[in-house]
């Protein structure tokens, strides 16, 4: 059974709020770099980038990151995609890592590994659209769109207009 818990309007607002908070916590925004975890995190990063552009008239560098190669839970899955950014792009920068759902924390760990394997940012913070709990690693998000307490049996599905035709967050129970 699918139940829509966040509609397109709320999702849009949530992203706007995260953008505001990013501005508030990064005075000046000079060293900001956005890295979106593929696939939906990447679209989220693009949307935050465009909001920052509208608000502050600055082009914040934004990259996509595929973490498949760095995951510890699916070692059999690999692809040859290399990250889009180089060490110069992240060294000494203030990186905001963006993903759609924060769950066990393993994706984030993989993303951190991927970034650290390339360069050394001065700070990495994490923005997620949904925090559904059940962490298996000591990771917490700096910017949270929605806290949605779930059970292990449930699934959170984030749909985004860019690939899924509409913006929404659903909870799926079997």
């Amino acid at each position: 059974m699918n139940k829509e818990i966040v509609d397109d309007k709320t999702m849009k607002r949530t992203l706007t709020r995260i953008t505001y908070e990013i501005i508030e916590k990064n005075k000046g925004n000079q060293n900001l770099v956005l890295i979106g975890i593929k696939t939906r995190g990447a679209y989220l990063a693009k949307r935050i980038k465009s909001r920052l552009y509208q608000l502050e008239d600055i082009e914040v560098p934004q990259y996509d990151l595929d973490v498949t190669n760095f995951r510890d839970d699916h070692p059999e899955m690999t692809n040859n995609e290399q990250p889009q950014f180089t060490s110069e792009d992240v060294n000494g920068k203030n990186v905001v890592l963006i993903d759609d759902v924060l769950y066990t924390g393993r994706t984030i760990r993989a993303a951190l590994d991927a970034i650290m394997s390339i360069g050394r940012p001065s700070k990495i913070s994490l923005a997620v659209l949904v925090d559904r709990g059940h962490r298996e690693l000591p990771i917490r998000a700096d910017y949270v769109g929605k806290n949605i307490p779930t059970s292990h049996k449930e699934l959170i599905k984030v749909s985004m207009a860019e690939i899924d035709d509409e913006d929404k967050i659903e909870i799926i129970t079997n």
């Binding site: 607002r13 709020r17 953008t19 505001y20 501005i23 508030e24 509208q54 608000l55």
Partner: protein
């Protein structure tokens, strides 16, 4: 009975009397509101003003007592394009005519609103008077009238009072409170305390609220330096939300400049652009002053909303402190529900401020 609306510059408009037959003088404002007549008339922001309704036949269903925005209305008069016949019946307790009579509010109907609106648009806001006769004496009287400089003092509550609930404790600084602000806070379970405009920061902190809200209200914010000082002292210590006049108070507290607009924004259907998303929303505006663009780049704020038509600044957010403001009235009443979410943003701002404090 024939009555006259005489403008400060000598222009005369003629129409038929409705409601009280007293003589009255005030600042003329033209509003676009189509519905929500009772909400507009009872809005304290219209203190000492004569409200002109552009649209005809508003509200044929009578005055809805659930929609009052204050108990003691304080506007000076109402000018109508036309009034439906059933609302002219003073004996009907739900009618507009009955309401105006009972509240001793003078009105004129069947006025050439198009000429009046065009005049105000061209020559800017001005003083005007509702009179029984059109003579030279009248204009002298209007010119002699000084618009009071203590409007907030008149409309603000004298005593603090609570609006209890179970959630966040909000200190609501009443500069001309609309009930709908409290309604929106109640929907979000806020435990509000309504405080007079001249309360000190110390007294507010003593109450240990989770956030402070400066409400909308009438007049020029520079007339209430005590409120501005209070705001300055609270900033950074507590999340602050400013609406309407409250927005201007917060801006002044942070060194922004404000300017008077030619005829202001009055209406429940003014297109506002949310800058982050480039999306247009329709919101209820009611202001004659605005934050000037001149030094807004120097103060520590970024612009979150602007008016589509004339680029007026309609919303600000502090770059580091949990402070947000909007010039329009997000509680609507009257008007669309497009911007009600701003109250949710306020709650979210309190939430993340609290989380930040716990770190």
């Amino acid at each position: 009975m024939k009555r006259y609306l005489i403008l400060e510059d000598g222009t005369v408009f003629c129409g038929d009397s409705v409601g009280s037959t007293t003589i009255s003088t005030g600042e003329l404002v033209v509003t676009n509101n189509i519905g929500g007549l009772e909400q507009t008339i009872t809005d304290q922001t219209y203190n000492d003003q004569i409200i002109v309704f552009v649209s005809p036949l508003i509200s044929t269903i009578g005055m809805n007592r659930d929609d009052y925005e204050s108990i003691a209305l304080s506007c000076k008069g109402v000018i109508f394009n036309s009034i439906p016949i059933n609302q002219m019946d003073e004996s009907n307790p739900k009618s507009l005519a009955h309401f105006l009579k009972k509240r001793r509010l003078p009105g004129i109907t069947n006025v050439n609103i198009q000429r009046l609106a065009a005049h105000v648009k061209k020559h800017g806001a001005m003083k005007a008077s509702i009179m029984d006769a059109d003579d030279e004496h009248a204009i002298d009287q209007i010119r002699a009238l000084v618009i009071p400089h203590d409007r907030v003092k008149t409309v603000s509550t004298k005593q603090p009072y609570p609006n209890p609930n179970v959630g966040f404790k909000i200190a609501v600084i009443d500069l001309g409170l609309k009930f709908s602000i409290l309604r929106q806070l109640s929907i979000r379970k806020c435990d509000s305390i309504i405080l007079p405009y001249n309360i000190s920061a110390e007294d507010i902190l003593e109450l240990d609220p989770d956030a402070v809200l400066f409400t909308s209200g009438p007049g020029d914010p520079r007339e209430i330096p005590e409120t501005i000082a209070t705001c300055q002292q609270l900033e950074g210590k507590l999340p602050i939300f400013g609406i309407g006049l409250g927005h201007l108070v917060v801006a002044l507290a942070n060194g922004a400049e404000i300017e008077q607009m030619s005829y202001g924004h009055h209406g429940s259907n003014i297109p506002t652009l949310e800058i982050a998303t480039e999306n247009i929303e329709f919101s209820n505006h009611n202001h004659n002053y605005t934050v000037a663009h001149t030094n807004v780049a120097q103060i520590n704020f970024f612009i979150t909303y602007r008016c589509v038509e004339d680029n007026t600044i309609e919303g600000l957010r502090h770059r580091s402190d949990p402070t947000m403001t909007v010039q329009f009235q997000p509680e609507a009443a009257p008007g669309t529900h497009d911007t009600l979410y701003i109250f949710d943003e306020f709650i979210e701002m309190i939430n993340s401020f609290k989380q930040g404090n716990q770190l």
